[in-house]
C-alpha cells in the first residue's frame, strides 16, 4: 500500500502488517515463525483498537477524508442491489457532484441522493470533489419531490467539503438554492434518512441534510465550518486546524450528545477504509431499520416529528426572559 494513503498515526499498524506479510510468505515456516504469525495477528488487532480508541478530532477529520474511505459510488455498489441513475435539474445542467437515482435495498425501493467526491484525480475533477453548484441542490430537490409524489422513501448520503465557493455558483444563487432546499425538504411527505458518510461540510451538507433520521458514520464529521476555515478566521492561521477541529466538537460522539444525530453507525476496526464490505453491511442494516421504523408514521406524524427534530435544537438561557409574547403552540421546550 503506498505510504501516501497511510495516515501518520496508522503507521504502527502498517509496520506490523508488513512484518506479518513477510512472515506469511515464507514457505514451510518453522513452529517459531508460526507462533510469531499468531502473536502478530493478535498484536495488530490490539494496536488498531488502541489507536482508534483514542483519536483526536483532527485525526478523525483525516480518517473522514481518507482517500481510500468508501464513497458514494462504492456504497451504491455495495449497499444497493440496483441503482438507476437520474440526471439533471431541468433548468441548467447535470451536476456530477450530486448523484441522484432510484435504488433498491433488498425489497425496499428508495430514491437516493448523495454527493460523490471522487476516488482518483479523474473522478475528483469530474465530480468537483463533491462540491455541488446551485444546480446540484436543485437537482436533489427535484428528484426528492418526485419521490415524495410516489411515496418513495429518500436516502441522502452526505460527503462534501462544502457547497462550491465559486464565481458561477454565486451567480446562479448558491445561497438561495440551499435555503430553498431547507424550506422545501421540510415539507416532503415521505420518510427521509440522511447519513453523513465522510465530510459533512456546513451549508453544503445541510442542503441535503433535512430529514427524519439523521445518522453519521463513527469517523465522519459534520460541522458548521471546516477546521481549516475556522482556524484561518479565529486563529488567523490555518496551521491551528487541529485546535479548531477540537473546539468545534464536530465528531460523531459530540453530535450525538448535542442531539444533532439520531444514530452513530459503527465502523469496522481501523475505520471504514480498511474494510469497505463490512462497513457497507452495517450501513445497509442501519438504513433498512430506519426506513422500516419511519414507514410506521403517517405523513402528518412524519412532518410533525421532522419539525420538532430541528425545532428543539439550540442551547440558550431563557431564565431572564420575561416573555412579552403569547406563546400558543410554539415548541418552547428547549
Amino acid at each position: 500500500m503506498p505510504p501516501l494513503n497511510q495516515l501518520v498515526f496508522e503507521r504502527p499498524i502498517y509496520v506490523l502488517e508488513d512484518r506479518l506479510a513477510d512472515l506469511e510468505q515464507q514457505d514451510d515456516p518453522s513452529p517459531e515463525v508460526r507462533q510469531e504469525i499468531r502473536d502478530l495477528r493478535v498484536e495488530i488487532t490490539q494496536k488498531r483498537r488502541e489507536i482508534f480508541a483514542d483519536l483526536d478530532a483532527w485525526q478523525i477529520t483525516q480518517v473522514a477524508r481518507h482517500p481510500e474511505r468508501p464513497q458514494t459510488l462504492d456504497y451504491l455498489e455495495l449497499v444497493f442491489d440496483e441503482f438507476v441513475e437520474l440526471h439533471g435539474d431541468r433548468a441548467y445542467r447535470d451536476d456530477p457532484a450530486m448523484l441522484t437515482g432510484l435504488g433498491t435495498l433488498d425489497s425496499l425501493k428508495v430514491l437516493f441522493v448523495g454527493q460523490h467526491k471522487g476516488r482518483n484525480i479523474k473522478e475528483r475533477e469530474k465530480h468537483n470533489y463533491g462540491m455541488a453548484h446551485p444546480e446540484g441542490y436543485r437537482k436533489a430537490l427535484g428528484k426528492m419531490q418526485m419521490a415524495a409524489k410516489f411515496g418513495l422513501p429518500i436516502v441522502c448520503f452526505i460527503d462534501t467539503p462544502g457547497a462550491y465557493p465559486g464565481i458561477e455558483a454565486e451567480e446562479r444563487g448558491q445561497a438561495y438554492n440551499i435555503a430553498y432546499n431547507l424550506r422545501e425538504i421540510s415539507k416532503l411527505e415521505t420518510p427521509i434518512i440522511c447519513v453523513v458518510i465522510g465530510e459533512g461540510g456546513s451549508g453544503g451538507a445541510l442542503g441535503i441534510g433535512i430529514g427524519d433520521h439523521i445518522a453519521i458514520l463513527q469517523y465522519a464529521y459534520y460541522s458548521v465550518i471546516s477546521p481549516e476555515g475556522c482556524a484561518g478566521i479565529l486563529w488567523k492561521d490555518v496551521k491551528y486546524r487541529d485546535k479548531a477541529a477540537k473546539a468545534l466538537k464536530f465528531t460523531s460522539d459530540n453530535l450525538q450528545r448535542l442531539g444533532v444525530v439520531d444514530e452513530v453507525v459503527e465502523e469496522p476496526l481501523g475505520a471504514a477504509h480498511r474494510d469497505h464490505r463490512q462497513m457497507a453491511r452495517t450501513l445497509k442494516a442501519s438504513l433498512m431499520d430506519a426506513i422500516r421504523e419511519l414507514s410506521e408514521f403517517s405523513s402528518e406524524e412524519l412532518l410533525e416529528r421532522r419539525y420538532e427534530k430541528f425545532r428543539r435544537l439550540g442551547v440558550f438561557d431563557e431564565s431572564a426572559d420575561s416573555d412579552t409574547a403569547p406563546d400558543p403552540d410554539a415548541g418552547s421546550d428547549s
Binding site: G162, A163, Y164, P165, G166, I167, A169, E170, G173, Q174, A175, Y176, I178, A179, Y180, L182, R183, E184, S186, K187, S202, G203, L206, G207, I210, Y222, S223, V224, I225, I233, L234, W235, K243, A244, A247, L248, K249, F250, N254, L258, V260, Y307, F310, R311, L313, G314, V315, F316, D317, E318, A320, D321, S322, D323, T324, A325, P326, P328, D329, A330
Partner: protein, 281 residues
Amino acid sequence: MAKSNPHDWLTHADRDKRGVPAGLWMLCDGCGSTVYRADVEDNLNVCPECDHHFYVPAAVRIAQLLDEDSFEEWHQGLSPLDPLEFADQKSYADRLAAEQKKTGLTEACVVGRGYMRGRPLVFGLTDAGFIMGSMGSVVGEKLTRAIEEATHLQLPLVIVSGSGGGARMHEGILSLMQMGKVSAALARFDQAGGLFISVMTHPTMGGVAASFASLGDFVIAEPKALIGFAGPRVIKSTVNMELPDDFQTSEFLLQYGFVDRIIRRHNLRSELARLIDYCGQ
C-alpha cells in the same frame, strides 16, 4: 438584563451607538470623502456625498422603519450560553460579554411586533455589530419564535438581515442547525399564507443568506450590500482569479435574479408598506 426595564437598550441607545464613528467628522468608506457626522446621521446613516449606506444598529433601524414607540420587543431576555465551551484566542463566554457591552444587546437578533405606517407586523433583525450578526442558538430561536408567532397572529413578517458571519462558528453544529429550524418555521408560515419580506443589508452572507434571508416572498436589498454564500476571500483563493467588480453586491444579485428590488434606505419604510398593502391582510 433587568426585568423591570426590558427595553433599556432601546431607550438608552445614545449617540455613540449610532453606528457612525465618533468625532465631528468622519471618512466615508464609499467615496473617501470627509463628511460631517451630523449630516450623515440626519441622512439615515447614508453618506450625503455618494449615497453609501453605513451600518445601522438595531435601535436605529427600528426607529427608522417602525412607527414611533410602536415596537414591542419579544424574548429580550433570551440569552446565549456556551454549549461547546468554545475558545479560540479568546473564550466565547468572554467574547459574548464584550459584544453585549459594546452593543447594549443580549444577542445579534431583535424580534417583536410593531407598526409600519399604521400596518401591524412582526419584525425581526440581525445586527451586524454583534459578532458580525452571526446566527447561533439564540438568533435561530428568536427568529423561529417570531415566525411561529406571526403565523399564529396572521401578521406580515419583515426581517432585516445584517449578518456577515453567517452561522456562528462558536456554537458549532448547533448554529448550522438553526438554518434548518428557521427555514422549517418559514415553510409553515408560507403554507399558512403568511407574507414574508426579507430585507438584506450589508452584509448578508453564509448561513443567513442560505436560509431565512433568501426565503422572502419579496427579497429586498439596500444598495451595494455584500450578499452571498461563500466569502469573497474563500472564492478568490478557490478559483484563483480576480473577482468581478460588483461581485456579490445587491446590484449583482438583482442582475442574476435573486433580488426583487433594491431600495434606498430613505424609501425603505414607504416601499415596504406598499408591498404589505398588495399582499398583507
